[in-house]
């Protein structure tokens, strides 16, 4: 039996391996295969080569969705790199009752996205709380169309995403802030550096790897945004579908009994490649900057 010892680790691995192959690898490979077919949800399909990818290039819905997802990354990712850091610096201080604020900032992270989406939709509705208060105070005469204007809707969704993400990334920054060597601060202080100078010259360089991590994580999740836009803008993706994101488009095209699985798989493959590209670009940028 000693010759079979190599099998032992595989046996330990087996449960996880089955799960990974069954729920990750298999669906992934299957999606790639389907992307080259005209498969429907029922009734199968046949190989159509690159047709789906050609169709995608001429599909205005794809370009709208890709544009919205990209815009989401451009606005949300920087906000989620900077704002949680400021928040972490704020709640790091040892003040009475600070634990309450730390918990309060983290609450949106654990709240259900559906509940959060519904609450925000009630707040931002034309007859919702925000418009109601502003109108009652005489600030506005006509309500602001937060949820029915193409740009205000996507901005509102971004606001919700940032609000939800603040606490999560704040915790990551808090952990990183704890590992910034105290001696560096003391040395800088001896050299006459003020609080702001120490933030720029000590804290931020020490936090650089964490900031890159937060940038990557927030950019990838912003690129794949679905729930916030879906809940605020409805299943059609806002007025005229103008706020549809890539994941929403995949859902719209590929689900239901008459779902176009081939095309939605092609969209998924493109989303995957774009996300991968985003990751590679961010890590390259980080490496180049570190080298310089």
């Amino acid at each position: 039996m000693s010759r079979q010892h190599w099998l032992t680790p595989w046996l330990f691995l087996l449960p996880s391996l089955v799960a990974v192959i069954g729920f990750s690898l298999f669906p992934f490979v299957n999606t790639v295969i389907l992307a080259f077919t005209n498969a429907r949800t029922i009734g199968g399909g046949r190989f159509t080569g690159l047709d789906n990818f050609g169709r995608l290039l001429h599909d205005p819905a794809f370009w709208t969705a890709a544009g919205n997802s990209a815009l989401y990354v451009v606005v949300v990712a920087p906000a989620l790199v900077v704002l949680p850091l400021l928040l972490a610096l704020l709640v790091r201080r040892k003040l009475p009752g600070i634990t309450f604020f730390r918990t309060a900032f983290f609450t949106p992270v654990i709240a259900s996205v559906v509940v959060v989406g519904l609450i925000w939709s009630w707040l931002l509705d034309t007859r919702g709380l925000v418009n109601g208060v502003l109108q009652a105070l005489g600030v506005l005469r006509t309500p602001i169309p937060f949820l029915t204007d193409q740009w205000l809707l996507i901005l509102s969704a971004m606001l919700v995403t940032v609000w939800r993400g603040l606490g999560y990334y704040m915790v990551i920054y808090l952990a990183a802030l704890g590992s910034v060597p105290r001696e560096l601060h003391e040395a800088a202080q001896v050299d006459g550096a003020g609080r702001f100078r120490r933030l720029l010259s000590v804290t931020l360089p020490a936090l650089r790897p964490t900031m890159v991590l937060v940038a990557v994580l927030s950019a990838v999740s912003a690129f794949r945004v679905f729930s916030e836009v879906y809940l605020l803008g409805g299943p059609a993706g806002g007025p005229g579908g103008a706020d549809t994101t890539l994941v929403m488009l995949i859902e719209q095209v590929g689900t239901g009994l008459r779902g176009d699985l081939g095309y939605s798989s092609a969209l998924s493959v493109v989303l995957f490649l774009l996300t991968l590209g985003l990751l590679v670009a961010t890590s390259r940028l980080d490496r180049n900057e570190a080298a310089s």
Binding site: L7, F26, T37, R40, I42, G44, A236, G241, G256
Partner: protein, 431 residues
Amino acid sequence: MNSLSRRGFLVGLACATALAATGCGLSGGDPGAAGGPVTGEVKGSITFQTWALKPKYTDYLNGLVTRFQQAHPGTTVNWVDQPADGYLKKVTADAAAGALPDVVNMPPDLSYPLAKQKLLVDIGSAMPDAAKDYLDNAWSAYALPGQSGSYGFPWYLNTGPVFYNKALFTQAGLDAEHPPTTYAELESAALAMAQHSDRKIAMLGLTPVIADFALYGVNVMDPGGTRFTFNEDKGVRFVELYKKLYDAGALIPEALTANYTGAGTKFMNQQIAWAPGSAYDLSNFKTNAPSLYPNVGITKPITNTGHATMFVQGLSVPESSKNKPTALAFARFVTNAENQLAFAKLVNIFPSTKGTMDDPYFSKSDGTDEAKVRVAAAKQLGTAVNYTPVQWSDQMLTVLQQQLAEAMLGKKSAKQALDEVVAQCDKLLAG
């Protein structure tokens, strides 16, 4: 064990993975056998799937199962109920895997793509004597347009009145006792309400769905059901009417993104004054919007065709069923006149079997609001039509909603928007 080499193990694992991955990519449903009467002994076990009937109607459904099993010794019916949310996804997944239960609750638009792929039993040829038991308009709801056959036993029907908010009508200076009965009256009432309330109260909460076009008198499809035609002049006029109401503030801005549930909530919140509904909604208002309930007025739906729209639910038997004789017998049993009448008395729905609606329960009101709605709806059902074409899909609804929003916002003319919807829907229909 000694013969099992490391390389062999890994190669085997890789091959198994690759086979599994490639094998499933293009799997299709198994097209069924040719039609013809289904004969055979009613025996053995079947699975019966309903849509969100548990736990409210558990006793009724269990009673049906028990009586069927007693009438047919040797049969076992396993009743499973799926929650309302995600029902379509569940049916889709089961259909794609060829694992649909023996008897499945589905509305016509869900049965259509399955029937088209020959995944459902043609009831018309499997049980040629069944058609005569059901109302013609209900039976034909499960037919494939342009082809013979019918793919579901109609189970229950629903149609509804329009609910309106009397208090909001009065506030806007409108006669709450005489709600609009024509589109022209609705238009002028809606405009008056928006103007009087300084755009704070809207009459309508939803852009039109496909059945609304049909109620307006628009020809939604060509007679053969092969292409959509609602971009005709009348359809354009209908969208222009909505555009006028939107500009005046008589259609809430959220209508551009809302779905049906969203509009229902707006009515319950007393933010809109007019909402088509069903007899079921009345009890919903009573429970969930008690302050609205005393203000709810009930009136007939507005139609240019003389017919109201109705909704149909039915039971279909998949071709993949291993026990078709029992499945068909059970589906027919559940949908027979006696059982439908008993079900209709439990919940605000209407039977689809011939003659059942003659029961005094549907023609005599005891004075309660529920009874009034029931009697009015039952009268309406006699000539009601299922105005949502079975070919209509969720993707088409999304396209319609998106293009109507563009028209309302003035980014496109009504004609341009409808031409675009029809072009995209025709493409989806052909695909």
